[in-house]
Symmetry: C4
Subunit: 361 residues, 4 copies
């Protein structure tokens, strides 16, 4: 009782988790400019609703890279979910499946990728099951992860490219955050670290050549996560990737980037509307989802709110978070006069909205 919105799960997580773990979940880079910009970006977009349209048959279905989804919500890859709940990634995967949401498992999961996949792979009606890839210190290790993901049944790879080094995460560092014993990166051999110096990290930061290499190793669709610059979007498109996740990592890597609500329409324009786009960062309401789709995304990732739900009530909490968002999306559609997300009206957002937002926030 009393838990009706995502922010209620946030409040429960904030009080329920020990401060160090909360610092990890909540953390931002620098002064949090990007996180604030993400929220402000969605809020600045105004919905101009249509009334009196027939609403019967309203549906949240979308088509994502050729597949039908019950709705456009996917769980974002979040490392170390056993910090938040003993069941870790299994709980969130099951919840996603129960809500027909997509699920993207992080390379840095605390439960082996095979275990997570086994828990949901055969569910009827589940959404997409994808694996998020962090390139490893050497290609053999990366290839091993790819092969395991393929074997376990993951249906796409999501290569995260916006975190070659750690962001400046003061709160975590002030809290002296470290993984407690027993919480491990279960997909990685404990000897896997590689050269941990900055020079080492920089030397093996992913490059466009790595994207081509990964694409050549697998027949899974390859998504690139962490693109903001239209020029990078065009380059990825030229390489033939399956799609892009327009993301600033929720403000946890580089602080001071544009909001994803600002970058998304510019990328949609740069890629001509043919490349599938997913967006994340600060999506907290069904109206945000509707706005994201109006700007050209086919789906959205939900990050911290999934962590809140997991910390708040395990699989049930995640399930509730996704259900609330979907219900809110349906309400937003009905109140905007939108019956299909596949066929968004082009005047739902003020045509000048983007210009305005860009000009004056």
């Amino acid at each position: 009782p009393g838990v009706v919105a995502l922010s209620d799960h946030e409040a429960r997580a904030r009080t329920g988790l020990d401060p160090n773990t909360w610092a990890y979940l909540d953390s931002v880079a620098g002064d949090g400019l990007t996180r604030r910009a993400n929220r402000a970006g969605w809020n600045a977009l105004q919905l101009w609703p249509r009334v009196l349209a027939p609403l019967a048959g309203l549906s949240t279905e979308v088509t994502l890279a050729g597949s039908r989804l019950a709705h456009p919500l996917l769980v974002a890859p979040l490392a170390h979910q056993r910090l938040l709940h003993g069941d870790g990634e299994v709980a969130s995967a099951i919840a996603a499946s129960a809500q027909q949401a997509g699920f993207v498992l992080s390379t840095l999961s605390n439960v082996p990728l095979e275990t997570v996949a086994a828990a949901v792979r055969n569910d009827q009606d589940r959404g997409p099951l994808w694996f998020q890839l962090y390139l490893q210190a050497d290609r053999a290790r990366s290839l091993d992860l790819i092969r395991r993901a393929e074997a376990a049944g993951y249906e796409a790879l999501v290569l995260t490219v916006d975190a070659p080094v750690n962001g400046v995460r003061d709160a975590e560092r002030r809290a002296g955050f470290r993984l407690p014993s027993g919480v491990v990166a279960a997909n990685l051999a404990s000897t896997a670290a590689g050269d941990g110096t900055l020079a080492g990290l920089l030397a093996r930061a992913p490059t466009w050549a790595d994207v081509e290499w990964v694409a050549a190793q697998t027949r899974l669709p390859l998504w690139i996560k962490g693109v903001l610059h239209p020029a990078d979007a065009r380059r990825a498109q030229a390489l033939g990737v399956a799609g892009l996740v327009v993301s600033n990592h929720g403000g946890r890597t580089l602080d001071g980037t544009p909001a994803t609500a600002q970058a998304l329409p510019q990328i949609a324009k740069a890629t001509g509307g043919t490349l599938p786009l997913i967006v994340d960062g600060g999506i907290r309401r069904g109206t945000d989802v509707l706005k994201a789709l109006a700007l050209g995304a086919s789906a959205v990732l939900i990050g911290r709110p999934v962590g809140w739900g997991l910390a708040s009530a395990g699989a049930l909490g995640v399930s509730h978070v996704l259900r609330v968002l979907r219900d809110e999306l349906e309400a937003a559609m009905a109140l905007s006069g939108v019956t299909s997300l596949r066929d968004m009206p082009d005047d739902l957002l003020d045509p000048n909205a983007l210009a305005r937002q860009t000009a004056c926030e």
Copy 2:
């Protein structure tokens, strides 16, 4: 003593009502973006006053769809007024009449529409008496309401079209708000509910065809309440409605819409200045009323402040709220050099005000 502005009634209502009822009266959808935008919209418009004009004979009279009104204030339809005061809608109707304000009774009144009408119908000098219509689960029930409203003496129908489903009203849901026993929708048969599922609601959401149907059933003037998009305004105009209420339901349905102060001038432009327009949402000062009229409205609805006055002091409270607004309007006119609301100067608001507001809020 000490009660001089609408905000004083708000403070009294907030402390006087039990938290659940306050949550109902005060409630907004989502994060309250639209409610804030409504206030910010009026505040952003700047009055450029003229001095030294002869002020004798200054009058707040307006012409609304052909009728003379002592001033441009109407009480908005507010459901369930017995939650706020035992006398419910009778109190607010009497207060409106005493202040020569218009009164719009909600379909969801707690006092039968006949009782309310009987209480004021024969008052000298009262303002318009209108009935707000929510379409019912079947046309027979809707027609029954229309016929009863006609018979009771209501002078226009106001069809509300911006609430086909409930808004996401967290505060109310957190408070677990429910109507207490004894407070009922007095105009509706208790069996009237119909299919309460989302699909049910969507299936019977009002459509343009319903507007035509209602218009064909009655000779009462038909207003549409809840229009923001200029394209919808044009369509309603083409159907021959009596006028529009430019409204976002005070931010209680879809969150994230434009402020009504933004939508109003766009609708005025789209409809060419010939369709009567009323506006509501966040009007709290006489200067707001003056600005609304400068943007093209013929009159305004007052929502929550009427609820505050009713909770604060029954009919006397509502009466005071309306009186304060009218006095403030007169002062604003005198201080702006405006002597007639029928003939607003076109440079009272900076000609660039709207552009500016749209560009930069």
Copy 3:
């Protein structure tokens, strides 16, 4: 000790005065939008300083309507100064004179205009001594005031035109503010009230015809105080007034007007730079004075801060307020590379400053 800025006098006045008197001094109309806009207006203007200019001989002198002033500061007309200090208007007039500042006595002074004039008329080096005129219920009474002001040695008349009726001053009304016995409008016969109804006030509100009438009665220069609209400025100019005070009465009459920093340059443009302009409203720092002059004013009026100083320490307090402002003005000039206020550089404010401010505040 510790009193170094105008805000220190404000703090002293706030704690030293009884709440009712503070409510009077501090009062604003409506929600205080105009008062805030006044401050924001000055703050939004950016000074682009020049360095390495020779500064020897820097002088704050200005020419106001042909007369040389030691600096551009004048005390604004403030009614009822005995509320703030027992010496009332005599204290502030003496302080102004000691600081070579101009002084404008309100019609509503608590000390007879003759007494105030006698206290300072013969001071060497004092600034201008002007009388602010509120038109009275009949012309005979107004003419009497004019004749008395002439006889007492006032050097100009300032006709205030932006207060035909009272502003909506909630704080004062909540506090139930009334003049205490013994504090009276010393220039007016106690029987002078006239028809106090709104209709009465409106009927005798000053008009352009009254301006012509006043101008014809006296050889004193006639200023109009309270103009914001460029069209009114042009009309006043056509009537041959001595100058204008661009003012919104410090936000005490109509709420929601433009800031004076917005109106001033538009009026300067409309009147072609030949009509002397004074500005007031929210001037609290020497940099504000410099900005006002850069926008086209020849001098500024200081309102509430004079009241703060008077309440804080009588004549000494007012004197200190004026001294601080003048010192700050000198520092601002030196740090901006401006040596003469008579010859302001035209690129001290960004040429685009006004456009910007207008576009986006």
Copy 4:
């Protein structure tokens, strides 16, 4: 432990210093508009990062007026550092040297310039060692300082021109700030004061002629510190200065200037990209440094944060402050896809960023 960002040193300094000394270190002119604008200016600039670029060999090296620097950080001239720590300027100079940062000694140092230079002059790998010059009451004294600086091994002169008179520093004046006995301007003869009146200060305020005179006295490169107006930048360039420090003195002199992030690109444009530019004011994060370089600066000065570090932990504190900034800069570069500061991409900041910022802050 727990000290990970510059703001942690700020908090330590605020609590560790006595209030008077804190008032000195923290002080701003007027209402602090310029200080806030400085921070807002950097924050408003958005980084549009590039991904998947090869990052190996990333380097923070820059070329400043022909010399190679390990990174673009220099310690700003800060008067009276023994107020902050007993070791005073020696501590900060040693810390700068240890971190390969440049160091600019203030004329008003509490340690003789020879002592400071001797402490670091022979360090391998140290950054530039410069002397900041305030012109003295007569040229003989100024020349004496110049000769001593040359003899001691300073490698450039930085003539500060934005402080001909003191700023309006209320907090310091309220605190009654005075130098404690034993803390002296060690480079100046105690009899050096000269005419301390405003007229005296103005008469000897530095002029363009003085710039030429200084340039003629020395073969050291001459920088001008405190330029904001593009016209002044052009004039300095015409005189052949070594470079400019675009600065508003951290908001301690004239309040209400543009942010340095606003002035910098205008000066870069006015001087055609050939004159070396340094910028300071509100730089608190590695991302700020990256933005400054993207706008055309070759290096940055760090002011108050060095004072925080010094007060917080002496040389170690300053060293940590510089180290943190450099580490953050490296992270910002890696996360933006920038490998060399000498060759900044021209689309790292949105091309329209400046226009936007100027238009809408």
